[in-house]
């Protein structure tokens, strides 16, 4: 009780308590003086003696303060105040330290937030560890993932023993929701009814599918749609329920029009559900039966393993089941495999994410090294301060406390800045990275990551801030003081520590720069390789014709032609083409075979597109041989195909491709022309073989219009919309943009990891340069007096410079040696991301090393210059 009262008094009435103490001590002094005067001393003498006996008033006060209640709080506040004052007096050091911490912690927390959401967070399915994807792959390794035919799905489902349930689903496609006055483009997913049960996802409202819900006699495969769309019931995603139906609780049972056909809502899926096909608005159920005849690869398969079955066992079983199928001559080039669902979803994003995480970790390490360096130099330069404070009676514990407080204040400031940085970095990433990340990823700041990185930074601060200062032991204090006065050079230990820090930073930075260099080279190679067509000055837009309005191929072809005719008449339009896809965007593949080739000959998949006559002229794809499509390629007439140069070269090396007969999944076609190569996969610098069919002989509901225009293509968006509305007012125009932009979008996904890694390496280079400079500079300062002595003894400036250069060069060499090891690791990590460039590309690696050595040299030369200009007289006289 009494203590509590004292605590209150000491903390709140601090001034009065202090005044009291001051007065008490002064009164005691006066009493002592009087005592001595009474015993016969002269007044001045008495005062002197009294002062001696009292000792330092301030130190007595300090002792009293220490025993008071709340002394801990007091000391802490005092230490914090002192730290802040120190930081204010050294703004450069403080800024570097806080910024370094902020960058290191912030970047890590942000990237880890992304990585965790993609790789670690639970999938939105029940017991997701038992879910697997079954997919095909080309045995020659050219394509990692091939979709399945209905027949393949049936074969697997009938004979496998590993899964308790399997369900197929198609990729999502666009659809039109609503009627004449209100039309919205929506995403539609066709799935087998058992999908939701397999995933373990119940409906949030209503129910999921039963087998009776299957659309009878309808195959929704986008290339080979068969039969009228008979899907009568739909499931809604949570987002569609909110967005299109305003979260209407009575939505189950409501009638909706999708693609012009009335259907009934039977349920709503949970909020966090994202299907393995990606986000969708409406789900329809299909029946595998009618699709069995089709040879189109359009299905994906997901299954739930039986309890106790491993993924590895399932993979082996699926491969074995497929190998022992009834007709091994069909799809002989395809093997089947099973992978955990998460791996399938994460897919290609794993490597870039791990690369990013590694880069962020490297930045953090460099940041720590930097901080260590800054604190080390500071600690060493403060040895004298500590020696003085110890000589004046400060306890070792008191000093440690002061240093701990300083480091903590620094870490807290850095941490706060880091949080701000991480938040803004994440909101940036959320926008930029969304299309590249798997749909289940929920990008958010991870408190664990923030904590771990902050603790790491704090430990660095403590280790390097406290230890060097404390190497001044009590017994050392005198020698430390003398050391300074005598002008000795720095000791061996701090110098070695500095060397390790410099070398470490250079090694880390070299690895990161090399990685960024390789990625940049790879992107450069892919970006500068010719596309094979002229993407400038072209407007693109996408459409989807609904089945009820355009049920047949001739109906669709007629619409294509009418639209193209109208657009061609627009002033400023040079050429118009219809194609089922935009080049480089969403390519479709089909099994390719020469007619007459044996059934069991390998059947590669190649990219193909159905296009109108003017396609090649519009995109300026050169005709090499034969002709492009013309009016003679009628619907129902003999099938014709135009193939690319590389396809012709591969299968007709003698140049006799024209007139040959080929198959692309369906009926045989005659090759009538050969055109220039076009790149379809922007990730690769080279063009792949591809084939074209006429839109009159092969067409889909989805198509795009390509308009080559004079002037700005975007000026033609309105006229385009007008012309489309004149033909079919209910047909929405989707994604009108320049072809250049569409191509750019494809590259953007590839560019993102590079941009981030590049940003990290610039950051790392900056941090490392500052760190290396600081280290060289502090080395120069520490040896200033030694250099002064050397010069005074007649050593020329060049010898001093040589001394420092040799020291710096040996540190740098050690760093580069370590960097070489780091580069090997980085290269191994990056191998899968590099295209068109060797992993040990001399330009990228040489460039990285050159930049690094350049920066380090500059960081070295400035202090060297300073060292050679040391005025021996001043250096020796200093202090």
């Amino acid at each position: 009780m009494a203590r509590l009262f004292s605590l209150w008094r000491n903390l709140v009435h601090r001034n009065r308590v202090e005044r009291d103490l001051d007065e008490e001590l002064h009164a005691t002094l006066e009493l002592l003086v009087d005592e001595k005067v009474r015993s016969g001393m002269r007044p001045e003498e008495a005062r002197r003696a009294a002062r001696l006996e009292m000792g330092g008033l301030e130190s007595v006060k300090g002792e009293v303060r220490d025993v008071r209640a709340g002394a801990g709080v007091d000391t802490l506040l005092e230490d914090v105040r002192y730290s802040l004052r120190l930081f204010r007096r050294a703004p450069g050091f403080t800024a570097v330290a806080v910024l370094t911490l902020a960058l290191g912690i912030g970047a890590n927390a942000a990237i880890f937030g992304v990585v965790k959401s993609v790789l670690l967070d639970a999938l939105p399915y029940a017991d997701a560890g038992r879910l697997a994807r079954v997919h095909g792959q080309l045995l020659d390794g050219t394509q990692g993932r091939v979709q399945l035919t209905a027949g393949m799905v049936r074969t697997i489902a009938a004979r496998q023993r590993s899964f308790e349930s399997l369900a197929a689903f198609a990729s999502t496609r666009d659809g039109v929701y609503g009627g004449d006055d209100f039309a919205r483009i929506v995403r539609i997913a066709w799935v087998e009814p058992g999908l939701f049960q397999t995933l373990g996802v119940p409906a949030a409202l209503g129910r999921t599918f039963h087998d009776d819900d299957r659309a009878p006699g309808h195959v929704p495969a986008s290339g080979a749609e068969v039969g009228p769309d008979t899907g009568r019931v739909v499931l809604l995603s949570h987002a569609a329920w909110q967005g299109l139906f305003a979260g209407d609780p009575g939505v189950v049972g409501r009638d909706v029009r999708v693609n012009g056909i009335p259907r009934t809502v039977i349920g709503v899926l949970p909020r966090d559900f994202v299907g393995p096909m990606g986000p969708a608005d409406f789900y329809f159920a299909f029946d595998l039966g009618p699709a069995l005849a089709s040879g189109t690869n359009w299905l994906n398969l997901v299954g739930r393993l039986k309890p106790g079955t491993t993924h590895e066992a399932a993979r082996r079983e699926i491969a074995a089941v497929w190998a022992s199928r009834e007709h091994p001559e069909e799809f002989s080039s395809v093997g089947l495999s099973a992978v955990p669902l998460r791996d399938a979803l994460v897919g290609a994003t794993r490597t870039p994410l791990i690369v990013l995480l590694a880069s962020a970790a490297l930045v953090l390490l460099i940041a720590c090294a930097n901080l260590a360096a800054a604190l080390l130099s500071r600690g060493l330069s403060r040895r004298k301060e500590f020696a003085v404070r110890m000589a004046l009676g400060a306890g070792r514990r008191r000093l440690v406390r002061q240093l701990l407080t300083e480091s903590t204040v620094l870490a807290l400031a850095g941490g706060a800045a880091a949080l701000l940085l991480a938040q803004s970095l994440l909101s940036l990433l959320r926008g930029v990275a969304k299309p590249v990340l798997p749909a289940h990823a929920e990008v958010s700041l991870d408190p664990g990551a923030v904590l771990v990185t902050a603790v790491l930074a704090l430990c660095t601060g403590l280790a390097f801030g406290v230890v060097p200062a404390l190497s001044v032991g009590r017994s050392d204090a005198q020698s430390a003081l003398r050391d300074e006065a005598r002008g000795a050079s720095e000791g061996r230990r701090p110098r070695r520590l500095r060397g390790v820090l410099v070398a470490g930073q250079i090694a880390l930075c070299a690895s990161l720069l090399a990685g960024a260099g390789l990625l940049a080279r790879s992107l450069w190679e892919t970006a500068k390789a010719p596309l094979g067509f002229d993407a400038d000055g072209v407007l693109t837009a996408r459409f989807r014709l609904s089945t009820p309005d355009y049920p047949t191929l001739p109906a669709r072809a007629r619409f294509h032609e009418q639209l193209a005719e109208r657009l061609r008449l627009l002033p400023g339009v040079e050429a118009v083409a219809i194609a089922h896809k935009i080049p480089t965007v969403d390519s479709r593949v089909a099994g390719f075979a020469l007619e007459g080739a044996p059934k069991d000959a390998p059947q590669p998949f190649i990219v193909y597109a159905s296009v109108s006559y003017d396609y090649f002229r519009t995109l300026r794809i050169p005709l090499r041989q034969g002709r492009t499509f013309d009016a003679s390629d009628r619907t129902g007439g003999p099938g014709t195909a135009v193939i690319s140069e590389s396809l012709a070269r591969r299968y007709w090396p003698k140049g006799d491709a024209l007139g040959s007969r080929i198959r692309l999944g369906g009926d045989p076609m005659t090759v009538v022309g050969i055109v220039g190569d076009v790149r379809n996969d922007l990730a690769r610098p080279g063009a792949e073989p591809m084939a074209y069919a006429s839109h009159r002989q092969e067409s889909t509901q989805r198509f795009c219009v390509l308009l080559r225009t004079h002037g700005d293509p975007l000026a033609f968006v309105r006229p385009l919309q007008r012309e489309v509305a004149a033909l079919d007012p209910s047909l929405p125009v989707q994604q009108a943009m320049t072809l250049r932009a569409a191509v750019g979008e494809g590259l953007a996904a590839r560019r993102l990891p590079l941009m981030l890694v590049a940003a990290f390496s610039v950051l790392a280079l900056l941090l490392a340069s500052v760190g290396v400079y600081a280290m060289f500079a502090s080395m120069a300062v520490a040896r200033e007096r030694e250099f002064g002595v050397r010069m005074a003894l007649g050593s020329p400036a060049s010898a001093i410079a040589g001394l420092m250069l040799r020291q710096g060069a040996s540190w740098m060499a050690a760093g580069l040696l370590g960097g070489a090891l780091g580069i090997v690791i980085v290269v191994r990590l990056l191998r899968g991301l590099l295209h068109g460039v060797s992993p040990f590309d001399p330009i990228a690696l040489g460039g990285a090393v050159a930049i690094l050595v350049g920066c380090a040299t500059v960081a070295l030369l400035v202090p060297v210059r300073r060292a050679t200009r040391v005025d021996p007289v001043l250096a020796l006289r200093a202090e």
Partner: protein, 109 residues
């Protein structure tokens, strides 16, 4: 005998201060002189030890203090034993006697 130093046993100083104040209120210097006097000069308490101890004992609630005019007609801070302090003195005295007896026995053995 100023200047003569005898290391105080841990806890002895508190006991001495309490004892010194048991006869009545004293200011800081008075406590110091009183200790010198009752220990016949064996213990000289330096201000650097005395004042922290006084404040510590006050905060523990064993001493109370107030400002009174001193013998040289200035204001000085006078310390008195509180009830708790008197109790504490009794306890510590008993404890000390026990220890002293034990040590004496040990040394005679």
């Amino acid at each position: 005998m100023p200047g003569r130093r005898t290391t105080l046993l841990q806890g002895t100083l508190d006991l001495l201060i309490l004892k010194a104040l048991s006869a009545g209120a004293l200011h800081g210097l008075g406590v110091s002189r009183r200790i010198e006097q009752i220990t016949r000069g064996t213990f000289v308490v330096q201000p650097g030890s005395l004042f922290p101890a006084l404040h510590r004992l006050e905060e523990a609630g064993w001493l109370a203090s107030d400002w009174q005019p001193s013998e040289n007609n200035r204001r000085a801070r006078y310390y008195t034993l509180t009830k708790a302090g008197r109790r504490q003195l009794g306890e510590e005295t008993a404890e000390w006697n026990q220890i002293a007896l034990a040590i004496a026995l040990a040394l005679e053995a």
